[in-house]
């Protein structure tokens, strides 16, 4: 055991110093960055340059017209605010509900708990496309169609199954002794949940927050299903709106996309570690 742990970091160090790592990874990095670079270049050109020389040409002009156009009437700004509202409320609500549900399902003898969990998960396997029209009709009948509330409710509903499933797996892996000790110290279920389970679940919650934030922020399909008023559109729908029916100002679209990508990029840098661990949540049970 001792030898194994002492050699493996050394081997890793050696591997990262090998020139082959860079020889292979540098072209890959360039390949991955190429589309972003392309969008940046398009965003910095003016319309006449794009019309005259095509989308793929190198910039002959350098202008901020695209950014000015995208931010001009405040539509993208307002849409970012809408996106932020929906994302914050959805992430908080769905993780609060999912952690409570996972706690109950993993630690208490809820009747049919396995079935409940499977049903929740099965809902996630359903492609959202077949539910678009029912969801649209239901929100209309409930009188919440065309409000951000409807979007938050729909997003919470569709996210809940997956979050509960992940948190359930995580909470089940918490050692039973902790709960027994808490019980002996006179801690009730609510106190145990708040003071012990939630702090211990912090890695899983952080990972899910990071994933959920990007998913919800980048969602377009539900926004288009339950919203009709332009002033309520989140940023994804606002970006779609930058496209014309017959003609596109590509520089404006590219600039708008870059502006819209900033919040997700910030979330990624803040939660960088959790993103990676989030991909592994539940994989090492």
């Amino acid at each position: 055991m001792v030898t194994a742990t002492s050699t493996s970091p050394a081997r890793r160090n050696h591997a990262s110093r090998s020139p082959w790592f860079h020889v292979v990874m540098v072209p890959f990095t360039i390949l991955w960055l190429a589309p972003i670079l392309f969008v940046v270049l398009v965003a910095l050109r003016n319309f006449d340059d794009i019309a005259a020389r095509g989308l793929g040409a190198l910039p002959a002009s350098l202008s901020l017209d695209g950014f000015a156009g995208a931010l001009a009437d405040g539509r993208v700004g307002r849409a970012l605010v809408n996106s932020a509202i929906v994302t914050v409320f959805t992430v908080v609500a769905s993780l609060a509900l999912a952690s409570a549900a996972a706690y109950a399902l993993s630690r208490f003898h809820v009747p049919l708990r396995r079935t409940i969990l499977l049903v929740m998960l099965a809902g996630n396997l359903l492609p959202p496309q077949i539910l678009l029209i029912p969801v649209s009709r239901i929100t209309q009948d409930l009188g919440i169609y065309d409000t951000l509330t409807a979007l938050v409710i729909v997003q919470v509903g569709f996210g809940l199954g997956f979050y509960t499933f992940v948190l359930h797996g995580f909470m089940r892996s918490l050692p039973g002794e902790i709960f027994e000790a808490a019980l002996l110290d006179g801690s009730g279920p609510a106190r145990t949940f708040w003071s012990i389970v939630l702090p211990l679940c912090r890695p899983a919650l952080a990972a899910l927050t990071a994933l959920a934030t990007t998913w919800i922020f980048n969602d377009l399909i539900w926004a288009m299903t339950v919203l009709r008023t332009e002033a309520q559109f989140p940023v994804t729908a606002a970006l779609l709106n930058l496209q014309g029916g017959f003609s596109n100002s590509w520089n404006v679209i590219a600039a708008g996309s870059l502006v819209a990508a900033v919040p997700t990029a910030i979330v990624f840098f803040v939660f960088q570690k959790q993103f990676v661990s989030g991909l592994l949540v539940g994989s090492n049970k």
Binding site: A52, T229, E230, Q232, A237, L242, S247
Partner: protein, 427 residues
């Protein structure tokens, strides 16, 4: 042990939570706005117009409306197309919606989803003086008017005056001259025609429509698109034979371009002519727009009456509108000559007014020429999808894209097209 990394993170989270405070405040704000907009008098105008100029023009025209407050929602065009039936069938539909005249509006009217606006077309109404062609176009199968046309535009072969001058060529008058011109240009290394049929495959139907109009006439064209003739007819064979003659003249990159990218070779004088709608003026750099001119697709059979494509855009009102009187008031305003004039002047695109009372003398020479073209033609059609349906347009896209890739197999193209069209008509 995990404290040091968490302090940086908690700083960032703290910063993030600070920024959410105004967000929450604005949430309350938007909620209140939504509540106020739900009153019975306020109107909603759902628009598909997304091109920058026309969109801004519509906004300023709507802002000047002297009636109930109007919320204008502009939705991306393809999204609007997909959601239109959801809008119209919803319990609280938008009051007024922008869309195409013709078969699409009529099919919604058949389902009883559109408000009867016949009083706007009655003497004294806002549309009373519109042309008979527009009146016919705006009337549903049961004789009720359901549409208010606001503007239209023409299709033609666009070219640059300076380029033709530089090459020493003239716009052709006859079909033979047109083919000869294409040969001349091709011999000089210039692509005679450009088109963008990549992501906008429907552009390939422009040439089909015009060749059909020139060879078989508008009557046959309308009946073919209504399913009264077969795409395997010898008349369609004749159209595709002419189309096959044109295929070598197109820029070979047309299959990878969209309608907008197709103008790039024209801007650089590498391609000469483009059969396209007048919306193409927006594709060109600002300093080349005055250089544009057009000529109608030349006559092929002199015994066939002239016809032009002029897609008409406008508005209809939902039958379920909470405020039908207000909706009609808004429609009347949008159809009025001052509103049309303001829309066209501000939009900067080359649209024509539907109202005969608009003073067109201030419009650009190109638009004046477009008005003359449409006034002098015997027949007016819309465009393939507007004369038929979006479903039939899909069959045309598939058939024509395949045909352009392999123009020799005309019979095979026709057979497959008819099979696909048959499914559309029988469904």
């Amino acid at each position: 042990m995990s404290t040091p990394p968490f302090s940086r993170r908690s700083f960032l989270l703290g910063a993030a939570s600070l920024t959410t405070v105004p967000l929450l405040a604005s949430c309350v704000g938007t909620g209140a706005d939504g509540g106020a907009g739900g009153g019975t008098t306020a109107l909603t105008l759902q628009s598909w117009i997304q091109d920058a100029g026309p969109k801004a023009a519509l906004e300023s025209v709507v802002a000047a409306f002297d009636g109930p407050p109007v919320t204008l929602n502009s939705v991306a065009t393809e999204q609007f197309r997909a959601q239109l039936s959801t809008y119209l069938t919803s319990a609280t539909p938008p009051d007024v919606l922008g869309w195409y005249a013709g078969s699409v509006a009529n099919s919604y009217a058949d389902e009883g989803l559109l408000l009867d606006v016949s009083d706007l077309w009655a003497p004294g109404g806002a549309c009373a003086n519109f042309s008979d062609a527009l009146r016919a176009l705006s009337t549903g199968a049961d004789g009720k008017a359901i549409f208010v046309p606001q503007n239209y535009y023409w299709w033609s072969i666009f070219y640059k005056k300076s380029a033709f001058q530089q090459w020493g060529v003239q716009p052709p008058k006859t079909w033979d001259e047109f083919i000869a011109l294409c040969d001349t240009l091709k011999a000089r290394g210039i692509h005679p025609l450009t088109n963008g049929i990549g992501s906008t495959a429907w552009m390939s139907a422009g040439w089909f429509d015009y060749l059909n109009l020139r060879i078989n006439g508008a009557g046959y064209h309308r009946e073919l698109l209504a399913g009264k003739h077969s795409f395997e007819d010898p008349q369609v064979t004749a159209v595709l034979e002419q189309y096959a003659r044109l295929v070598p003249y197109f820029h070979p990159n047309q299959t990878s371009w969209d309608a907008q990218q197709a103008v790039t070779p024209m801007v650089n004088n590498e391609a000469a002519m483009y059969l396209v709608g007048a919306f193409c003026t927006e594709y060109f750099p600002a300093d080349q727009r005055d250089d544009l001119d057009f000529f109608s697709v030349p006559t092929i059979d002199p015994s066939v009456p002239s016809a032009e494509e002029a897609p008409t855009d406008g508005f209809f009102a939902a039958a379920g509108s909470q405020n039908p009187e207000g909706a009609k008031q808004l429609l009347s305003y949008l159809a009025s000559a001052p509103a049309q004039q303001s829309f066209i002047e501000k939009s900067g695109s080359s649209n024509l007014p539907t109202s005969p009372d608009v003073d067109t003398s201030t419009f650009s020479p190109l638009v004046q020429k477009g008005i003359t073209l449409l006034n002098e033609t015997a027949e007016i059609t819309q465009f393939f999808n507007r004369d038929s349906s979006d479903a039939l347009q899909t069959t045309a896209d598939a058939a024509l894209t395949q045909f352009i890739a392999n123009p020799s197999d005309i019979r095979g193209t026709q057979r497959q097209w008819q099979q696909a069209a048959q499914q559309v008509f029988s469904s």
